[in-house]
């Protein structure tokens, strides 16, 4: 069925609302990659099985990532007239118990993460209040009040976890495609661009170029054939924002792209998704098919006369293809290598035609901005960075997950409020933003407000949204080494500074971590980092030295300790540490002796043991297992 008018769309909305809020129990399981990785599929299967077995009157649904990855698998239970409860850290056995209980009208408060009394519908600017008749469950904290969600503002993630990504009607029920309908029927192309410009939206892929301006360049570029591209080649270690959106809410990206295509005057688009994201690719493929069936993509969209098609292009596993000119080469079937800019893609892009490339998050924001207006969006954030940003908060943090926060939030709030601090009460050492292109911000700058400018001033960058928290046990030389190892492998190898420079920087870092470096090497490392940053062909080389430059800027003493004192202050670099057993503390329990893989530990039972340094490989097992803190690191 093709949707031809608002009445058709309203009809589907009603269907979608029935599916979202049925008249019987509905159990949703978060089946994003993060959920599946923690066993959500088995939870889902066991719920389906149990419901069938017991003949319970309930439906089971799938949703995307609700953000709180630390507590996955998440199970969300909707019952008419009752509190909607999200249960966390489920396993198949608990899930069966839960279902059995629910069938008898019992809830399992001890497994509950939070409950919902209402939902915010961003597009419609309404709050959907549930009619709750039952009092039971009021003691479970509300969704908007638990620390993880309290400071979040979900716009790009507005639907993630709250609907079934496989069901286009549920997307429509939450206001989806109504914005597109309005754009096509009553907005001029320039008007759309103006709105995006005024909203202050900037590219969410990393560089932060104003989106409206980018669209205008492409619209104004001469030529009839123009392309729209969604960059979903997310590759930063620890970052999974784009994946979660494509898995959990693919239609928001499609709708954003159609709106962009209309504004720019394009009739063909691509979603470039990395090969390592099979679920995201499947999700988008399904969404495209559904949208085409309903006439929301393809020819004569919503009976407006506007045509736009989207194809999927899957990468072959190269990080550098996130760089736009390399991405274009890859879609064209060439080696994924960047080329010099200018000419910029807006002028000469895919197959030499004007092309506009935006990140997944940028596209997902578009329908919301057009629906609610530039004023609404630009009221959030800081003077130059408007709206919200999606981060994947990972590393040494209690609450790992996908978070969306207003720009300008302090790092401290991200870590201590949303993230609820560092595990085991350890001290914060640094926060790494922007992935391998970003830098490490020290704990002294925890009050830094997160926006494009402030992060760049601190030597890091916004990047695509990766945020890795590091605690006091982290060696910053080792961190720099880790990221450079990554960029060394991911550099395409085309230009000298990036290919040769990163390799040499890594050699120096390796020497430092082994205590073999001289003071002059530190100077050479710094000079080299600056040249690689300034003289490389593309942004990969241009930003690859950032982890080195920021750690040198904020943690120089740590480098010096490795070089001058031949010590690794964090006790991480194996060549610079020695394990020994404190004879006073050792009880001779023999646990370390048993666990040592090198048989380097000897000693009689109940008498102090000792380590044979020549045999020790510094794996640290003895240190980990000793219950008496007798193993010491020097």
């Amino acid at each position: 069925m093709k949707i031809k008018n608002l009445k058709n769309l309203e009809g589907l909305k009603a269907k979608g609302l029935e599916s979202l809020y049925p008249k019987r129990m509905k159990i949703n399981v978060g089946l994003g990659t993060c959920g599946i990785a923690t066993g959500a599929q088995a939870v889902f299967d066991s719920i389906v099985e149990e419901i069938e077995k017991q003949g319970i009157d309930a439906v089971v649904g799938k949703t995307g990532c609700l953000g709180f990855c630390q507590r996955e698998p998440l199970v969300d239970v909707w019952q008419p007239g009752k509190s909607r409860i999200i249960y966390c850290q489920m396993d198949p056995e608990k899930a069966r118990d839960l279902v059995t209980g629910l069938a008898q009208g019992k809830m399992r408060k001890e497994w509950a993460l939070c409950r919902l009394e209402e939902e915010e519908f961003i597009i419609e600017n309404t709050k959907k209040k549930y009619s709750i008749k039952e009092k039971d469950g009021k003691d479970i904290p509300l969704y908007g009040e638990i620390p993880f969600y309290k400071k979040q503002k979900k716009i790009a993630l507005r639907n993630c976890g709250f609907m079934n990504p496989e069901n286009i009607e549920e997307y429509i029920a939450r206001g989806g495609y109504f914005t597109l309908a309005r754009v096509l029927s009553s907005l001029k192309e320039e008007g759309v661009i103006e709105e995006i410009k005024n909203s202050g939206l900037r590219g969410r892929g990393g560089a932060g170029f104003p989106t409206g301006l980018k669209w205008k360049f492409c619209r104004d570029a001469p030529g009839d054939t123009k392309y729209i591209i969604c960059n979903a080649d997310e590759g930063d270690p620890g970052a999974y924002m784009d994946r979660s959106i494509l898995e959990g809410d693919p239609h928001s990206v499609l709708e954003g792209m159609v709106i962009g295509a209309y504004a720019i005057g394009s009739h063909e688009g691509y979603i470039y998704v990395r090969n390592e994201y099979p679920l995201a690719a499947q999700s988008v493929e399904r969404a495209i098919r559904q949208a085409e069936e309903y006439g929301l993509l393809g020819d004569n969209i919503l009976n407006s006369g506007f045509n736009f098609r989207i194809r999927i292009s899957q990468g072959a596993g190269a990080f550098v293809c996130g760089e736009e000119t390399a991405l274009l080469a890859s879609i064209e079937g060439k080696i994924g290598e960047p080329r010099p800019r200018p000419p910029f893609p807006a002028e000469r892009g895919l197959w030499d035609k004007p092309t506009n490339i935006n990140n997944v998050k940028t596209w997902a924001n578009v329908p919301a901005i057009i629906a609610r207006g530039a004023d609404w969006y630009s009221k959030m954030g800081t003077p130059k960075s408007k709206g919200t940003m999606v981060f994947s908060l990972v590393g040494k943090i209690n609450n790992t997950g996908l978070v969306e926060v207003p720009m300008g939030i302090k790092l401290r709030e991200m870590i201590y409020d949303i993230g609820e601090g560092i595990p085991q009460g350890k001290k914060l050492k640094a926060v790494q933003t922007g992935g391998p292109s970003g830098g490490c911000i020290p704990s002294e700058l925890a009050d830094l407000e997160v926006d494009y400018e402030k992060l760049t001033q601190a030597g890091s960058m916004m990047g695509s949204g990766g945020m890795v928290v590091m605690d006091e046990d982290t060696c910053m030389v080792n961190v720099a080494k880790y990221f450079l190892n990554f960029t060394k492998d991911e550099s395409c190898g085309k230009c000298t500074p990036c290919r040769e420079g990163i390799k040499r920087m890594l050699e120096i870092l390796d020497d430092i971590s082994k205590g073999k470096a001289k003071e002059a090497d530190l100077e050479l490392l710094e000079t080299l980092a600056k040249v690689v940053k300034d003289a490389s062909l593309c942004a990969l080389g241009g930003t690859a030295p950032n982890p080195v430059l920021t750690t040198l800027r904020y943690f120089r003493n740590e480098y010096e300790a490795h070089i001058k004192d031949k010590k690794c202050p964090a006790h991480i670099c194996p060549d610079l540490i020695r394990y020994s057993i404190n004879k006073e503390k050792c009880t001779g329990c023999g646990l370390c002796l048993k666990e040592c893989p090198q048989t380097a530990i000897s000693g009689e039972k109940k008498k102090p043991h000792s380590i044979d340094k020549s045999k020790c490989i510094k794996c640290g097992v003895c240190f980990e297992v000793c219950k008496f803190d007798a193993v010491e690191i020097d």
Partner: protein, 252 residues
């Protein structure tokens, strides 16, 4: 025409001119390694780095691949250009310390020894061979394999090439003499590309003179009498001398 300023001097050039050429017009020499007039610019070696002070994208850039813009201001000898170029050459010197061209460049920049661990690679990955083979010869025999530090120029699957015509353009354009070609009796052996090609013998003297595939390729591309592709250069010259002799005798 576009007007720009390079090192304080004004120059006007046609649209589409690179900064490298605009500088050369002013007599400013910028060293290059991966640049060749016959093929498209690549911007990979970064030896020709210059600083765009005013323009669409300010900062350091490769002058061979950067087009001149109206009102652009460029510096070819600012401290950051000089420092970067020196270090880039030092990096190449560490990779290929035995390569004559690299040593010469390093010497010109006053670099005696690279501060990095020595390697002994002959190829500096300038990609000239790849571009010549693709753009001029139209054979696309070779390309880049692997990423980052492991990048190499190779034939597909590092195996004998079916499409190589053995012309040797790759070898003649290579600035570091890294591509080895030798001839043995009736074969031309392109060691670097794991490829052997049969040679054709001259119709007159019988000497093996050019790969059969190359002659076939040329026959398709250039319209010339069949005979041209059958005899060696020496015999062609002898033929010509004889013909001139005959003409002269005729005139006398």
């Amino acid at each position: 025409m576009l007007n720009l300023i390079i090192d304080g001097k004004e120059v006007s050039v046609e649209k589409g001119t690179t900064v490298l050429h605009a500088a050369r017009k002013l007599g400013i020499e910028i060293p290059t390694l991966c640049y060749h007039e016959g093929v498209s610019p690549y911007g990979a070696c970064r030896v020709c780095v210059v600083e765009v002070v005013k323009g669409m994208k300010p900062g350091l850039t490769a002058s061979c691949a950067c087009l001149a813009e109206q009102g652009m201001e460029v510096r070819t000898n600012s401290p950051s250009v000089v420092d970067s170029r020196r270090l880039i050459i030092e990096l190449i010197l560490a990779r290929s310390p035995e390569v004559k061209k690299v040593r010469e460049l390093a010497q010109e920049m006053g670099i005696e020894k690279a501060r990095f661990r020595k390697e002994d690679k002959e190829c500096i990955l300038c990609g000239l061979c790849v571009r010549v083979c693709q753009e001029i010869i139209g054979a696309s025999v070779i390309g880049f394999i692997n990423r980052g530090a492991n990048r190499e120029v190779e034939t597909p699957f590092q195996a004998q090439s079916d499409v190589c015509i053995g012309c040797g353009a790759c070898s003649s354009v290579c600035p570091t003499e890294a591509i080895k070609i030798k001839e043995m009796f009736d074969k031309r052996i392109l060691e670097t590309w794991h490829t052997e090609l049969e040679l054709k013998s001259c119709k007159i003297c019988g000497r093996y003179f050019a790969p059969k595939k190359e002659l076939e390729h040329l026959k398709e591309k250039i319209e010339l009498p069949e005979e041209i592709f059958e005899i060696c250069e020496d015999c062609k010259r002898k033929n010509l001398t004889r013909k001139i002799g005959e003409i002269k005798t005729g005139i006398i």
